[in-house]
Amino acid sequence: MQHSKIQDTLVGLFVAAGIAALFYQALQVSNLGTYTSGETFTVSARFQNSGGLKVKSPVSVAGVKIGRVSSISLDKETLESVVEMKIDSKYNNLPDDSDASIYTSGLLGEQYISIDPGPGLSGAFLKNNSKIENVSSAIILEEMIGKFLLNKANQ
């Protein structure tokens, strides 16, 4: 009987340790600790070229992440890339003449959308389903190298 009690305790400790390991992974290893499932609103922007941007790429203002890209599709009429992003609803005071640009973090890092707040001339803010008109496309490294080489060759 005594032996069985020790066994019970050890099994209990084992199960507790396993569950603790799972929690450790959830909070320390993965992004669940910073995950917010709060309210979001959707904003879209049209780019000539969205480069290596992916669904779930970050959207940031002044380097702070405020949302994620939710879909990327091609407009069949204009052949432009339509990028929709979900932005945390607490950031509801972005002027509607803000610029959206696609940047790369580091030389070889992943691409993200940076929103530069505009002067707010109209006084309106970005809200659900608004469109960002001022955009600058992704910088494609190969195009830049190609242009640079062409310039060199012309000189």
Partner: protein, 259 residues
């Protein structure tokens, strides 16, 4: 020539016969869940011998695998000046692949072989027939608790393996090689997704636990009741579990991560 065809035919029949017996065995074992639910002490005893006794080998292996990943990853990543991504590399390889797979292989070697030998010997010494004589169903009484114990313990062991491995990688990367502590964790947290990586890893280990335990129990139950038969069954358990785990891992990885 005729002999060859006779042997081929009997080998084929034997192979399909084994699959059929295995399926009936699985269904029989599953039908004992209610029986074990009424007698939780049977399950607890098996969780002790399958899970608690495997804890040490799993945690020490996890620590060393994590430490090796830290070292190897650092040497490769520092060639590209990307040491800060060490945390991502260690955590992604542990959580997605090495945690479930290596702990399942260790589990097959440590617990699976023991299960086969135990049940094979029970069969050889006619303990199973003895139970039947007493109108006790040996599958429900002996097999089901062990099966359930394997099913419960495997994901827990894999979680422990990954968690301890990440700590080992952190110890080597940050403590010994001087990777920045903040970027080690923040890059890891920004690229490892809870549902996509950790939950999928857990599903993998559940599948591996199911197949490794089923193979171990079936080989023991189906072995020739002689000392040689038990020894062969134990070998088959380890070999077949390794094949099953690695083959299933390929299929599961293709299904889960090939977006």
């Amino acid at each position: 020539m005729l002999n060859f065809f006779t042997e081929l035919g009997s080998a084929t029949r034997e192979a399909f016969g084994k699959i059929g017996r295995g399926t009936f065995f699985l269904l029989h074992a599953l039908s004992g869940f209610g029986y074990v639910g009424l007698r939780p002490r049977l399950l607890l005893k098996q969780m002790y011998s399958v899970g608690v006794l495997s804890f040490l080998i799993i945690s020490i292996s996890g620590l060393f695998v994590g430490m090796v990943l830290g070292l190897q990853g650092f040497y490769i990543l520092s060639d590209f000046g990307a040491e800060e991504s060490l945390g991502v590399m260690v955590a992604a390889s542990l959580v997605r692949e090495l945690g479930p797979v290596v702990s399942a292989l260790l589990f097959a070697g440590r617990a699976g072989s023991a299960l086969t030998a135990e049940i094979g010997l029970m069969k050889a010494t006619e303990q199973l027939s003895g139970m039947e004589m007493m109108a006790v169903d040996p599958v429900k009484r002996i097999i089901t608790p062990r099966f359930l114990a394997g099913l419960i313990c495997m994901p827990l062991l894999a979680a422990l393996f990954s968690a301890i491995g990440v700590m080992g990688g952190h110890m080597i990367g940050v403590g010994m090689l001087g990777v920045d502590d903040g970027s080690f964790w923040s890059q890891m947290q920004s690229s490892i997704d809870f549902r996509h990586d950790i939950i999928n890893g857990m599903i993998k280990s559940l599948v591996f636990g199911f197949s490794a335990t089923l193979i171990a129990l079936f080989e023991g139950y189906d072995c020739l009741p002689t000392s040689e038969g038990v020894s062969r069954a134990t070998t088959r358990t380890v070999v077949n579990s390794a094949f099953a785990v690695l083959g299933l891992d390929f299929i599961l990885t293709a299904l889960m991560f090939g977006d």
